[in-house]
Symmetry: C2
Subunit: 211 residues, 2 copies
DNA sequence: ATAACATTGTGAAATACTTAACATCAAAAA
DNA sequence: TTTTTGATGTTAAGTATTTCACAATGTTAT
């Protein structure tokens, strides 16, 4: 089990996260070993792809018995997680923000949403599924104080740019942006964008093509 | 302006959708021509990539004046949209569902959310930002009746599989799935998955790497 | 008129990612 | 004990996507 994964492909990272989630389910069902073709089936990919991913992270299964579920989960954790975990803030406590808080609360112990921010005075001071909502004005202060390193932006498009700028100034290291406006961040801040409108238009394109 | 784009790269489709959104903003600001490097700057990609995409859709700009914004928007529309538009249903009117309804309502005239479905009796019969919420039991009936071709799944993970199955049976052609469980659909149904947990874990991975 | 320039369009190279092909080997079967 | 089987691990080939390099050419400056 060598640790020689200097730089894993982007797509492999995504799949590792997905593998882990389903491996945890397998484990909870009492399944302790799994074959590459079983993992592949769950994720609708080829067994070779699974084996390649595991090869890249330096994991070896047992011939004819497959992979040890528990070991694999732990190894993926070693790659994706930090030991102490990372703190996450969510900016914009609208429907989307609250939905995300719901998704994450309690689930992944290594990524905790520890603060929410919003401008709406009705929301400030309230607690949503365990997450305290603060005034946006206190963003910088609390991010520094709590050592929050990741932010999720779920504010309306027009506010996203200014929010991002303030997050960067506060020392945020990674941003997950749901606003459909491309953001401008310095290269030392990792930016991941989820563009739901584009995703839907893409579905529409392929539906059209098939008609 | 030839129409020889038998099969555009997946990534090009995504970018076209994004280009269009920002071109519409340019147009509304009175900008009628745009250079490849200007488009590139907005989207944080290279000018060559922009030119390549436009080449692939068979659009030619004017040397030294760049691209005609209006023409380009129209051409992208010709590729991404159907003339009559497509109808969209949203299954699961929780926080995420309502947030998506908010995003799309009124914005894109060619993709209209025309129905929502939920099991919660409190929600059935209500109207959310113009979208009527029906009982999930009427899903099949209404999809057929209204000729809905696209569905967005925003139900909890455990219900997603059965929802997908029923959507396929009802004749849905494309699905945008927000549940973190990989779905199983026949090959004639286009499936796009947005995995918010994976996206966040990916951000965490790159943040960790940079530390 | 001519030269310098800035921009487009594109073949070819480079990079990133996936899949095929197969050597290897432990377990099960004969 | 030997053969067959069915899995892994990996090199090499294939595909998809991005970038390089540069020819072509209209516009502006001289």
């Amino acid at each position: 089990m060598k640790m020689s994964h200097r730089s894993l492909p982007d797509k492999t990272i995504e799949r590792l996260s997905q593998y882990r989630r389903n491996l945890l389910i397998c484990l909870s069902q009492g399944k302790h070993h799994i074959f590459s073709h079983e993992i592949a089936l769950i994720h609708h990919i080829t067994p070779v792809q699974v084996r390649r991913d595991l090869m890249l992270i330096g994991y070896s299964g047992t011939l004819r018995k497959g992979y040890d579920v528990k070991e694999l989960i732990d190894l993926i954790g070693l790659i994706l997680d930090t030991e102490e975990g990372l703190k996450v803030a969510i900016v914009g406590i609208g429907n989307l923000g609250r939905s995300l808080i719901g998704y994450f609360s309690g689930k992944r112990s290594k990524l905790n949403i520890v603060a929410g921010f919003d401008n709406n005075p009705d929301k400030i001071g309230k607690i949503y599924a365990g997450v305290h909502c603060y005034s946006s004005e206190r963003m910088q202060e609390i991010i520094v104080e709590e050592e929050i390193s990741i932010a999720i932006i779920t504010v309306p498009a027009d506010n996203a740019a200014i929010v991002a700028e303030r997050l960067v100034m506060a020392g945020i290291k990674g941003i997950l942006n749901f606003s459909p406006k491309p953001l401008n961040v310095p290269p030392h801040v990792y930016l991941e964008e989820i563009d739901m409108i584009t995703s839907l238009e893409k579905v529409a394109y392929y539906v059209k093509k098939q008609l």
